[in-house]
Amino acid sequence: MGAGHAHPLHHHGHSRVHHLAPEAKVAAAFATTVAIAITPREALWAFAIHAAVLAGVVATARLPLRFVLARLTVVLPFVTFALFLPFVAGGEQVEVFGLEVARDGLWAMGNVLTKATLGATVSIVLAGTTESSRILMGLERLRVPAALTTIATFMLRYLELIADEIGRVRTAMAARGYAPRWLWQARPMASAAGALFIRSYERGERVHAAMAARGFTGTMPDLGIRRAGPAEWFMAATVPTFALAVTLTALLTN
């Protein structure tokens, strides 16, 4: 569930999408996802257009198809849920391949699958073309509180260190024959987690000391990194604007 990947998705490249300013990309990603999410589920034509547009963006970004498909597996748990819908939903029944399923359930299944997949594709394009620190910078430029983005920056900076520590502890435990299968055998893992928390917190205190030693008094200094120009916003806005137009048309003609 919460067990995502430890390695950010950034797929190094020099496409036009890669070079767009992050705040423009983040805003565009949100807008496009909104457009997809509010598309009425019966408007299959609209979804087809959305998919085509996204495919175009993936191609422009020169992201390998295998890469995108691999990361799309994150929606699998919901695919499973979605597949149940025709069987658990109520309402009018129809027959499909000899099975009695709810017609509404079929629509709902299609709706969830499509929106989840398309939405995830947008996220993958964003994460794949933008370094994590720049995504956070983009958020900050979009007026997300600096404290939040800085905390996130630090989190990402130290995540690998902590994940490495966990790896070392697990190796050490496994080397001494620890292979738990039941919950009550998990005590050493939980103790290790507690110890890891303490070490992480203490490192946090040392980092604070280092920051204070270099003059930090509570607000991050302005390190002078450039903002997006109007041309970049314009370019970034093409996809979401088009997507929103499609969605609006779908909503109005529904």
Binding site: F154, V207, A210, A213, T217, L223
Partner: protein, 253 residues
Amino acid sequence: MPPSDAAPAILVDDLHFHYPDGTQALDGLSLRIDRGERVAALGPNGAGKTTLALHCNGIHVPERGRVEVLGVPVDEANLPEVRRRVQLVFQDANDQLFMPTVREDVAFGPANLGLRGAELDDRVAEALAAVGASDLAGRAPHHLSGGERRRAALATVLAMRPDVLILDEPTSGLDPAARRELLDVLAGVPQTLLVITHDLPFSLELCERAVVVDAGRIVVDMPTRALLTDEELLHAHRLELPFGFHLSPTDRG
């Protein structure tokens, strides 16, 4: 060279300090380091060397006794001034490299001092060049080797243009080549140096003077070469030259 009656770089007078859990870390420690000196702080683990270092850059405030850096007393009121003048390179470089890229880390300090734009960029370039890390500017800290991290951390504090540099175990964990690179860098910096280390040959090469900290006080204070040729004195404080390393009191090594 500054006039001889200028305030010493570091002046510690009868310093006492104990940690919240009760351990007496410093027990009447006194030390004077003049500007331009390079002093090695040697001694067994737990002797109080790091605690002493943390007093000199204001992370700890003396509970009893006095600490002055360049004539400025270390107390709550003077902390910003103290921190401008004294910088510490931590044992774990990861604690000092908290920004996404090396460039941003080096820029962090001077930006806090108010530098902006071209002035900031120049300061960053200067610090990176001083440690031979100009090519590491755009890299993320977790993609650096141990030696590169150590030099990057050094750059972050050099960018503050301190008068005094304290280094805590700078060579620990470094391979011989990285160690040599660091030594070369440190040999060239203008700052007054206080180097906490277990690496005796390093202390010999870099520092003309050595003090031994034991049980919270300075117990030995003499020229480095003289100390390292005194086997009895070394052993009395859990120090030992590396195997095969021979020093005569007179040869230039």
